[in-house]
Amino acid sequence: MNKKGLDEMQIQRRNNIGNQAFLMLLYLLLIDAGLYGYGFRWVSYPANIMIILTVCAGIYAIRLIKASAYVGPSTKKERPVLTILMTGLISVLVAMGIIILLKNTGFSDVGQINDISAQILFSAGFAGIAIAVITVVINRMQNKDDGE
């Protein structure tokens, strides 16, 4: 059995949750586009996309953790608690950063939020890369003992 990744039940649950989250994202984006077509702007672009993406990603992560499909089977030397704590901490920091960024811009002025859209996209990309790098480092730390 694969000791580094998820087990078969976790993979099935993760795939199921991922499919549902993707469809929810698709439908929310379609609804948003439809509302925009009828002239109703609940939040100006790109904050609406950011909010929908954040909500879908948050629901996906929460459902994964709730279904015990986030951390795979661990050996005694591994520290899944560290992984969860680090991921949670980074998620909170990224969410706070996005909220502060959006709060400072305000939702009412379309031109104002368009001015910082590049920074938002850059921040999101940077956060994604940072999370990926930290995850790789944690995985290497946890799997270091298995190779010895």
């Binding site: 059995m1 694969n2 000791k3 087990d7 078969e8 976790q10 089977p73 005694k76």
Partner: protein, 69 residues
């Protein structure tokens, strides 16, 4: 799906916890718990791994008699 009491009794006979079996076959404790409760239908590979750990055959643990259904 009905509960797998054969697996539970075989595990108890070997004085192993769900965590012990899970560690031996490389899955999480929740997966073993779901199999015992009938909430998850394992693959044949996982069935074989569990049988090897518990020293039983597939028939012993996973074959359901028609009269029991």
């Amino acid at each position: 799906m009905s509960k797998n009491l054969k697996l539970k009794s075989a595990r108890a006979a070997k004085d192993m916890s769900q965590k012990d079996v899970a560690d031996a076959v490389g899955v999480t404790r929740q997966t073993i718990n779901a199999i015992e409760n009938g909430d998850y239908n394992p693959t044949i590979n996982l069935c074989i791994a569990i049988c090897k750990v518990l020293g039983k055959t597939l028939n012993d643990l996973f074959w359901e008699e028609e009269s029991n259904e």
